[in-house]
C-alpha cells in the first residue's frame, strides 16, 4: 500500500529523469561527444548522490509551504502535479515540474484549510524569476572566460575535442548531482512529512534518515527515467532545437548546474550566513528554464542574435498558469479521493500552522537547533517539549 501511495512521486521521478537529464547531457549525447551509456551511468550515480546527500534543503522549503500530513494527500499532490505536467506538455505549453508541485501543494493547503506560508511562497516564486536570469549571467561570464582561455591556450581541434569530452562528463556529473539535490524535492518533498520509513543507524558513525531513504527511492526512479526514456529527448535536443557548439553546450550546462547547486546546497547557504552574506533560498527550480536562461546569456554576448522573445514570454506565462492549473487539479482530485474513496488526505487534529509554532516557541531558547531541518511535526514537538522542560527546571 505504501508503495502504491509513493507511486505518484516515483512517476514524477521517472518523468524528471526522462526529461531533465537531457538538460545536463542532451547536447553531449545528441552531438555524439559522449556515449549515451556513459552519460546515463554518470547521471544516475550523481543524481542519487545529490538527492541523498544534499536533497534536504529544497525539500525543507517545500515543507514550509505546506506540510502534507497524510499519505493519501501526498499521493494526490504528487499525482496532480504529474498530471498537470503531462497534460500541459501534451498541449505544448511550457511547463516545469517545480511549478506544478508548488501549485499542487497550495491546492492541498486550500483543501485542508491549512494556512499557506506566503513568505515561503513569495520566496519560491521570486526564485523562478530570478534563477533563469542568474543562469544567463553565469553563462555570459563563463562564455567570456572560456573564450579567453581558448584564445590563450590555442588548442588544436583534436586536443580541444578531448578536453571538451572530459569537461562535458565532469560538468555533467556536477550537473546531475545538483539536479538530484535540487529537484528531488519535487519528486519526494511532499512525502517527507509522512515518510513511512524508520531511520537506520549503523553505530554512531552512519545514519540514514527517513527522508534520505525517500530521496534514495526517488533518485532510483529518476535513474530509471534516465535509462529508459531520456535517450530520445537527448537526441531531439542534440539534433537541433537549439544548435550549440560543444564548448557553448559546456558553458550552458555549467551555468545551469551552478544555479541548481546554489539553490540546493545547505552547506553553501550556511557558509554565506556565517559570513554575514545574504543567504540563497533553497528552492527547487526548473532546469529547463535555466537552460533557456543560459542560452540567452550566450546570445546576449554574441550580440543578441537568435534570442526568441516569444519563448521568454511563454516561460513567464508558465510561472502563473502552471501553479494555478496544478492547484485547481489538486483541489478537485483531493475532493474526489476523500469523498469517493473515503481516503484520508489530511489530518485535522495534527494540523499545525507555522504561525502557531512561531508563537509557541521562544526563539532565544532554540539557538542550539537553528539552521537544522526537521521533517515532521513530531520533531518540532519534541524540541518544544525540551524547551518547556528546561524552563520548568530553571
Amino acid at each position: 500500500m505504501i508503495l502504491f501511495f509513493l507511486s505518484s512521486g516515483l512517476f514524477l521521478g521517472w518523468s524528471l529523469g526522462a526529461n531533465d537529464a537531457a538538460n545536463i547531457f542532451g547536447t553531449a549525447v545528441g552531438t555524439k561527444m559522449v556515449r549515451f551509456r556513459s552519460a546515463a551511468i554518470v547521471a544516475s550515480i550523481f543524481v542519487i548522490l545529490g538527492a541523498v546527500i544534499s536533497g534536504a534543503g529544497a525539500s525543507h522549503t517545500l515543507g514550509k509551504l505546506g506540510s502534507i500530513n497524510a499519505l493519501g494527500g501526498a499521493f494526490m499532490v504528487a499525482f496532480s502535479a504529474a498530471f498537470t505536467v503531462f497534460w500541459m506538455t501534451r498541449l505544448q505549453i511550457p511547463v516545469s515540474t517545480s511549478q506544478a508541485v508548488v501549485g499542487a501543494i497550495v491546492g492541498w493547503n486550500f483543501f485542508s484549510h491549512t494556512q499557506t506560508d506566503y513568505n515561503s511562497l513569495i520566496k519560491i516564486v521570486s526564485t523562478w524569476v530570478f534563477s533563469p536570469i542568474l543562469a544567463a549571467v553565469f553563462s555570459a561570464l563563463l562564455y567570456l572566460l572560456l573564450k579567453k582561455i581558448l584564445k590563450h591556450w590555442k588548442l588544436s581541434i583534436f586536443r580541444l575535442d578531448v578536453y571538451t569530452r572530459i569537461a562535458l562528463i565532469v560538468v555533467g556529473a556536477f550537473g546531475a548531482y545538483s539536479l538530484g539535490a535540487n529537484n528531488i524535492a519535487n519528486v519526494m518533498g511532499v512525502f517527507v512529512p509522512v515518510s513511512p520509513f524508520p531511520e537506520i543507524s549503523f553505530g554512531n558513525w552512519f545514519h540514514i534518515s527517513s527522508a534520505q531513504q525517500l530521496f534514495f527511492l526517488g533518485a532510483i526512479a529518476i535513474s530509471i527515467g534516465i535509462f529508459t526514456y531520456s535517450f530520445k529527448v537527448m537526441q531531439t535536443i542534440g539534433s537541433g532545437v537549439v544548435k550549440l557548439t560543444p564548448q557553448s553546450a559546456l558553458v550552458v550546462v555549467l551555468a545551469e548546474s551552478l544555479v541548481l547547486f546554489l539553490f540546493a546546497s545547505s552547506t553553501l547557504r550556511n557558509f554565506l550566513l556565517s559570513h554575514n552574506l545574504p543567504a540563497i533560498p533553497l528552492v527547487p527550480v526548473s532546469s529547463s528554464q535555466l537552460v533557456v536562461g543560459a542560452i540567452i546569456g550566450i546570445g546576449i554576448i554574441q550580440g543578441g542574435r537568435n534570442i526568441k522573445f516569444n519563448t521568454l514570454g511563454k516561460i513567464a506565462s508558465g510561472w502563473v498558469t502552471t501553479p494555478i492549473i496544478a492547484a485547481v487539479i489538486t483541489f478537485v482530485a483531493l475532493f474526489s479521493l476523500k469523498n469517493t474513496f473515503d481516503i484520508e488526505v489530511y489530518k485535522e487534529n495534527k494540523e499545525m500552522s507555522k504561525n502557531k509554532i512561531e508563537v509557541n516557541i521562544n526563539n532565544d531558547k532554540i539557538t542550539s537547533i537553528s539552521d537544522e531541518y526537521f521533517y515532521n511535526n513530531q520533531n518540532i514537538d519534541y524540541f518544544c517539549y525540551l524547551d518547556e522542560n528546561k524552563n520548568g527546571n530553571n
Binding site: K32, M33, L146, S156, I157, R159, I166, T245, P246, V251
Partner: protein, 214 residues
C-alpha cells in the same frame, strides 16, 4: 591514451599539409624543367608527384577512418573531411597539370617561359598560403583570416597573369596556327586552376573558422 590518438592525428594532418606544399613545389620544378627542355628531370619530378599524390591519398583515408571509427570531433568532422578532400584536389590538379605536359608535350615558345614561370609562382604562393591557413584553422581558427586574405591576393594575381598570357598569345602573329594558341591557353588555364583550387579551400576555411568560434 586519448592524447596519444590526438597526437597521431595531429601528426598525420601536418604530414598531409606538408605533402600539399611539396606537391606544388614539385610542380614548379617540373614546369621549370619542361620550359628548359630538361626531359630527364621533368620525368623525375612527374614520378615524384605521382608518388606524393598516392601518399597524400592514403594519409587522407587514414585520417578519415580514424575520425569515423573513434567518433572524434563529431561536430567538425564533416568540415575536416571536406577540407582534406579539397586540399587533395590541389595535389591532384598539380599532378594532372604535369601529366598533361607529359602527354600533350605543348610547344611553348621560349619568349613565354617567363610568363608561364610567373603564373606557376603565383599559383604556388596561393597554395602555400592556403596550407598555412589550414594549419592555423586546426590550431588557432581566430587567426585564419589573415592567411585567407593572402590566398585571395595570389589567386587574383594568378588570374591576372593568366589573362595577360592568353591575350599575348592570341595577339602574337608569330604563332600562325590557332591550334597552338589554343593549346597554350589550355596550359595557362591548367596552371591557373591550381590557384583556383586553393581559393576553393580558402572559401570553405573562412566558413569553417566562423563555425569553430564558440
Amino acid at each position: 591514451m586519448l592524447f596519444k590518438k590526438t597526437k597521431s592525428l595531429e601528426d598525420k594532418f601536418n604530414k598531409f599539409l606538408n605533402l600539399t606544399n611539396d606537391a606544388v613545389l614539385i610542380l614548379n620544378e617540373g614546369i621549370k624543367c619542361y620550359l628548359e627542355k630538361d626531359k630527364e628531370n621533368f620525368d623525375h619530378y612527374l614520378n615524384k608527384l605521382i608518388e606524393h599524390e598516392g601518399k597524400a591519398d592514403s594519409i587522407r583515408k587514414d585520417i578519415e577512418i580514424e575520425l569515423y571509427q573513434k567518433t572524434l570531433i563529431p561536430e567538425s568532422r564533416g568540415d575536416i573531411f571536406d577540407l582534406l578532400e579539397n586540399l587533395d584536389d590541389i595535389i591532384n590538379q598539380a599532378k594532372e597539370t604535369l601529366m598533361e605536359f607529359s602527354i600533350e608535350i605543348p610547344s611553348i615558345p621560349q619568349k613565354y617561359n617567363d610568363d608561364f614561370s610567373k603564373l606557376t609562382e603565383y599559383s604556388i604562393n596561393a597554395v602555400n598560403q592556403v596550407v598555412k591557413a589550414s594549419r592555423r584553422f586546426i590550431q588557432d581558427p581566430s587567426n585564419v583570416e589573415h592567411n585567407i586574405h593572402k590566398v585571395y591576393h595570389w589567386e587574383k594575381e594568378a588570374d591576372r597573369q593568366s589573362e595577360q598570357l592568353k591575350r599575348k598569345v592570341f595577339r602574337d602573329n608569330s604563332i600562325v596556327k590557332l591550334s597552338m594558341k589554343i593549346h597554350l591557353r589550355y596550359f595557362a588555364l591548367h596552371i591557373d586552376m591550381v590557384a583556383d583550387k586553393a581559393e576553393d579551400v580558402a572559401d570553405r576555411l573562412s566558413i569553417y573558422a566562423i563555425k569553430r568560434s564558440i
